[in-house]
Symmetry: D2
Subunit: 309 residues, 4 copies
């Protein structure tokens, strides 16, 4: 057991702040501990690294945090909601940017008339969506027809994205697989659905799972490991954790940043301790959960890691 040490506020770098937070308490301490676990995970050459994305991270300005992690080789497999990938592609394909607003001063009916969709305090102009639709249909045509796992389709899309800040583009370049387990639950899914009305394009999500389960069998056989940074909960959290159950190969590292609570019984807010009972992680795994808005925690995490590597 360690003494709490008073945090010294001063001009300091983000990482220096995090080093100090290690000796504080509550979520500051957990944030510091999480970054330590992530550092260890990144250094572990035998570890396959997952990143789980849910919540409107791209409209909130978190895109380069994700891209930076990909570019640095800190992510091998990205599991995401369709929304985040849609938002990334929309911006990369020339869409207008997202706009700040004040939720308490807003009339959502007026917004609807003005062609603005609201994500809490961010607005997404309809133009962005319209442009996205046109451009993505072009890309789909270039890709042609066929049957794809989501990671295969995203790979092909990524190869056509020129924006160097694009999550999908960077992932393609760095051989990072992007899996979207609820693919049709997004505007991107809608576009593929539309395209498939008169083109033979099929999405086979079984293939994504195939890849993942085989990967964990392989890691088990080769005595290698896996770990995850999970931003938010939802399907990406469950998908990343659940995929190790059949191969019985618990993750070695798991960090979650969430604003959900354990005491309502849902998986999004469930503790990583609970995950031990399922064999998703085990007693020896390094696990940590930080209860914090990801817009605060993620920039801190990636900035601190940039100082460490």
């Amino acid at each position: 057991m360690t003494d709490v040490k008073d945090f010294v506020p001063k001009r300091q770098t983000v990482n220096e702040m995090i080093e100090q937070m290690k000796f504080t308490a509550f979520n500051a301490r957990k944030l510091s501990e999480s970054i330590g676990i992530l550092e260890e995970m990144i250094k572990d050459k035998n570890c396959i690294k997952f990143l789980g994305l849910s919540g409107a991270l791209v409209p909130a300005g978190m895109r380069k945090c994700i891209t930076e992690m990909i570019k640095n080789g800190w992510v091998d497999i990205l599991v995401s909601t369709g929304a985040n990938i849609t938002h990334d592609l929309a911006v990369s394909l020339g869409g207008e940017h997202y706009i700040q607003c004040k939720p308490e001063e807003i009339d959502d009916s007026e917004l609807a008339e003005k062609g603005m969709s609201r994500i809490y305090d961010v607005l997404s102009p309809d133009k962005t969506s319209i442009n996205f639709e046109q451009e993505i249909q072009k890309i789909l045509k270039e890709i042609g027809e066929g049957e794809f796992s989501t990671y295969e389709l995203l790979k092909k899309m990524g190869e056509k994205i020129e924006d160097e800040n694009s999550v999908v583009g960077s992932a393609a370049k760095k051989q990072v697989k992007i899996i979207i387990p609820a693919f049709f639950d997004s505007i991107l899914g809608f576009q593929v659905w539309m395209y498939s009305q008169d083109h033979k394009m099929r999405i086979d999500e079984r293939k994504d799972l195939d890849f993942l389960i085989n990967l964990h069998y392989k890691l088990k056989k080769e005595n290698r490991s896996s770990g995850a940074l999970i931003l938010g909960g939802g399907v990406p959290k469950n998908y990343i954790l659940q995929s190790v159950i059949i191969p019985e190969k618990p993750h070695k590292y798991a960090v979650q940043i969430t604003a959900d609570s354990p005491h309502f019984g849902g998986l999004s807010g469930a503790t990583l301790e609970e995950a031990i009972s399922w064999g998703k992680v085990n007693k020896g795994s390094k696990i940590c959960c930080v209860y914090c808005d990801a817009t605060i925690a993620l920039p801190i995490i990636v900035s601190a890691l940039k100082e460490r590597f």
Copy 2:
């Protein structure tokens, strides 16, 4: 504007309590308002009724609340996480029941050794999963091979379930479609994946979306409407709300029961007012969000509705 009236505590039925709560405040008032909206939705003969399920409702003992709604014709389309459907099938196929526990007295490593998986204060014995796997493989063999939307596969499964309290079984009987947008993100998904290793079974989730978008076009053309009761957030919430965007046919009714908060910017906690800006509902829609654990709200809602119908 109406005066707040003091709630009179006394021996009373659940619905009498709800009638009183209409004149209180905060979430009691919202709960009462929500039940009023649901009553109106049920009475609306021209309304297609959605139910969204996320969170571990079946292990929490909420199964008959869902089944009751289906049996009464209060649900036309059920959109669910894979987990709830897996849990329902597991019990219907003879699995041991879920067991209460005290999270604060539990060692998750010991649980893992004992073959117990924990969902907050509920335990799921491994036997249940093992039995589920055997039985579901039998059912899949009976179904044979082919390509299915999730609602088609669930229909075929439901026809083979004899348990009258089964969600999947009741849905099949009442022609209620069950859609699982992240199908492979569940133990049921795993079983289909396994089965598909040596059988030609394919899941086509595009077909689910196809059905849904065409439905909303049809409702628009026929001047009919749709509405939803959304328990929790996640993919089911997004899927139900998003599917009206392309046909531009906002839901007429929307009630959400959630323990998530709006002020972290995620979709699960987003207000239904925000949904107006997206055209998912509109100014004239009856909308209400109750911030409450669904294990408390759902039994109240269904019991109160049973008194009203």
Copy 3:
């Protein structure tokens, strides 16, 4: 360990619903367990019963729930924020009632101009405050001068309240002590402050503590016990729990209804297990915490208890 049993939704009384919830999970189960603990506490003739109030319960229409508990002899000592007592007196002294509103349709600057103060979705008209000020000054004049603990002053006030639904009035009749540990942090405190500008009236909160600590010493000596229903957190929670530390006489029963979370480290959201380490309760105490809006939980609790007694 007990099996989870599916809740059966049907026409039923509130208590029948609670009996069923005992076999469910998450907060429904905790709500049921809490009511069981409260029933046991009420039946325990050797137990001094505390009620802690924080949050805007009176404006939310919860007044009669509190009064009913007092009238039934289920409360011996009420520890409250000043606000709840102010609100109770304001209504008892003929103030206009509280009015429902829609937070999302409201402009708070306009409200300020119209003389309406907002409490989430309830409005309090200025008239209520003005009337309260006039009437309370009259009552203070009748009381005269002197030095009072908060429970002594509230007793004297209660004796002058004729409204049979008044919390303060009922408490006076039933010899229930009302303690307001942060007395001057309320409009009632303001009124006493004003009155004291030209009258010799003094509040001695040390005397409240005196009473409480001596009470717990007495309970210890006589081998009697104490218990508490705590609605919300804040000062009332801390005050009720902390007062047993010096006499080293842990509460035998403790139920908390709260919307706060443990994982931010504050006392309001702290688990009752944590309270064991402080000696506020102990291993053998019956403790339970329900994470739920009190506007939903309190009417259920009091209605169910009315059926049991």
Copy 4:
């Protein structure tokens, strides 16, 4: 309206991070906006600055953040729970420090036997309390007898504290008033209560209010202003905001850092917009609320401000 700009993660100072967060969304943006408001408030020579403290900030290692603000002249009046002041004095008077623990690995009954009190993931050894009691009784004897507002008593105590990191000590040196509105709801209150058993010491909290209300009348007359940084909610939040109602002199600046939610109707989580309807702030006031654990937000705020001044 401004475009969202992607946050660039890199080696940077805390303030550089905050400058970037201004162009993001959700709570990162609010945190940045809050620091801007605080900067403006500090620069406003005609502004009296309040700091509200609730939650276990001192045991969490936040003490020097508070002291630093006092030393820099960024606080004129500190309104606190008794607990934070007790914790500060306990450490300053030579108490053993607080110790980190893992809540999930802990048995609170064992802790009680070992003489350790738990505050989420921090332990407070009994020795600290025992030492505190002895030392504080000595100090009280030195102070002697008399009647004190809480700010007068804390001033006298502060003058006897040598520890330069002490909140109470620094406040005394810098003429910062410390007000504890629920004085007897704390271990410090207990000690004064004990001392008063055989010494004539009286606490007069009416005098604290007297000072505050007169201050706001004076600020109004002199056309000066007030502002507040409120950490957590509870009594300190209400006390700071409510004290301007009688003089009708709304605060010009108000920043709240909280983990509470508005949608449960309590004051701790109430929006600062709601405070407009009460005249606690007004339309022209600079207000901002950040939903974040104060252990993360406070070190960031004070470190960033240190860079700006």
